[in-house]
Amino acid sequence: MNYTPDFSVVWANWPVLLRGLVVTIEIWLPSIAMGLAGGFLIAQARLSRRRWLSGGSLVYVELFRDTPVLIQLIWFYYAFPILVGVQLSPFAAALLGLTLNTSAYASEIFRGGIKSIHRGQMEGALAIGMSRAQAMRRVILPQVVKRMLPAFTNRTIEVAKMSSLASVISVHELMYQGRLLSSTYYRPFEILTAVAFIYLVLIYPGTFLAGRLEKHLARSS
């Protein structure tokens, strides 16, 4: 090994990487927020007694979990606009793909959480005259949310990692900027290593938090 790394190229292009990081966050946080909301609705559909709802949502969930997320992004960028006859920017396609993907995974977390609550809780709420929606909001969810917290934190970490795939459909996020810089300056070692560390700093707090939450919940139950 006689290669001498020169990280000055990273410092010189720090604003570019930072701009990429901002776009990463702009994909990441909305996808996770909308994905959680979508996941909640899909979980309701999965638990519905109407066959077409529960069956349809099962197919949705399996489609998104049993294909690579990169294929999903590419599909939403290259295939979907042709089918519906609308132009989608790379950013919009990435947001759409990641949100729908997150919805599928989040729905399974919700469903597992809701199913883990004893049936007696729902029956008890219905027996005092609550509607199903009231029972869900007042009785079931408060018990479930705490239990689901580690899984949601893990999902948030996964979405942060997945957001880097948006670079493949040329969204100008962190990974994209990293690739561009490394081919421009021909300093791939310095730049890609720096990109890896930026992701590490972005994601590690979440992993740490998820671990602490899991330990905490294991102790309190």
Binding site: M1, N2, Y3, E62, L63, D66, T67, P68, V69, L70, I71, Q72, I74, W75, Y78, A79, F80, I82, L83, V84, G85, I157, A160, K161, M162, S163, S164, L165, S167, V168, M175, G178, R179, S182, P188, F189, L192, T193, V195, A196, Y199, L200, I203, Y204, T207
Partner: protein, 221 residues
């Protein structure tokens, strides 16, 4: 939706897609085998009571868990060769990325299985006069293995999906071949829907096979 689907151009190039599918399976299989080896070494290091062994392994695992897979692909393809001044084929870079990544996750699976065996089992074996090696071989590992199977399968399933990233290095996997077919036919909806379904069939088949294996391996419980 007024798009008129026509799968004929895609089917004419199906041999290209089939080759891609074969390459996807090949790279997944090779990476699982190598990943298991990496995972075993890392797990043994992490379980060691010597800090200079356990600490580097922990850093390695945490680094991989907290950075996006695509970064590893690009790092091994562009950065690693610069560092060693060697040239690197897309295949080798992708295998290195996939097997180190999965190795980091497998290490956690293996370690988790060993750690989950109750302290009493260690004491029961020690009290009979077993050496550490005999205790591992006869008592701990046989019990740990059956607990490792479900998370191991889950991780391998994730790896199978991650192989799609090899296409970004121009390795001729299913996604890369699809891009070639797309540039010849200019039919993105048909091409990307077809390969999405191919991935779906591949992944569902793999998970069904894994479930069968799991039922056999965990029979005694």
């Amino acid at each position: 939706m007024t798009y008129s689907w026509d799968f004929r151009p895609v089917l004419e190039h199906f041999d290209m897609l089939a080759l891609g599918l074969l390459n996807t399976v090949k790279i997944a299989a090779v990476s699982i085998v190598l990943g298991v080896l990496v995972g075993l070494v890392l797990a043994m290091m992490r379980l060691s009571s010597r800090r200079w062994l356990s600490w580097p392994a922990a850093v390695f695992v945490e680094f991989y868990r907290n950075t996006p897979p695509i970064v590893h692909f690009f790092w091994f393809f562009y950065a690693f060769p610069v560092l060693l001044s060697v040239s690197m084929s897309p295949y080798v870079a992708a295998v290195l990325a996939l097997s180190t990544q999965s190795g980091a996750f497998y290490a956690e699976v293996f370690r988790g299985g060993i750690v989950s065996v109750e302290r009493g089992q260690w004491e029961g074996g020690r009290a009979l006069g077993m050496t550490h090696a005999a205790l591992m071989r006869r008592v701990i590992v046989p019990q740990a293995v059956s607990r490792m199977v479900p998370p191991f399968i889950e991780r391998s399933f994730e790896l199978l999906k991650t192989t799609a990233l090899a296409s970004t290095l121009a390795y001729a996997d299913l996604l890369y071949q699809a891009m070639l077919v797309n540039s010849e036919t200019s039919r993105p909806p048909e091409v990307y829907t077809t390969i999405a379904l191919m991935y779906l069939v591949l992944l569902v088949t793999a998970s069904q096979l894994a479930r069968l294996a799991e039922a056999r391996l965990t029979a005694y419980q």
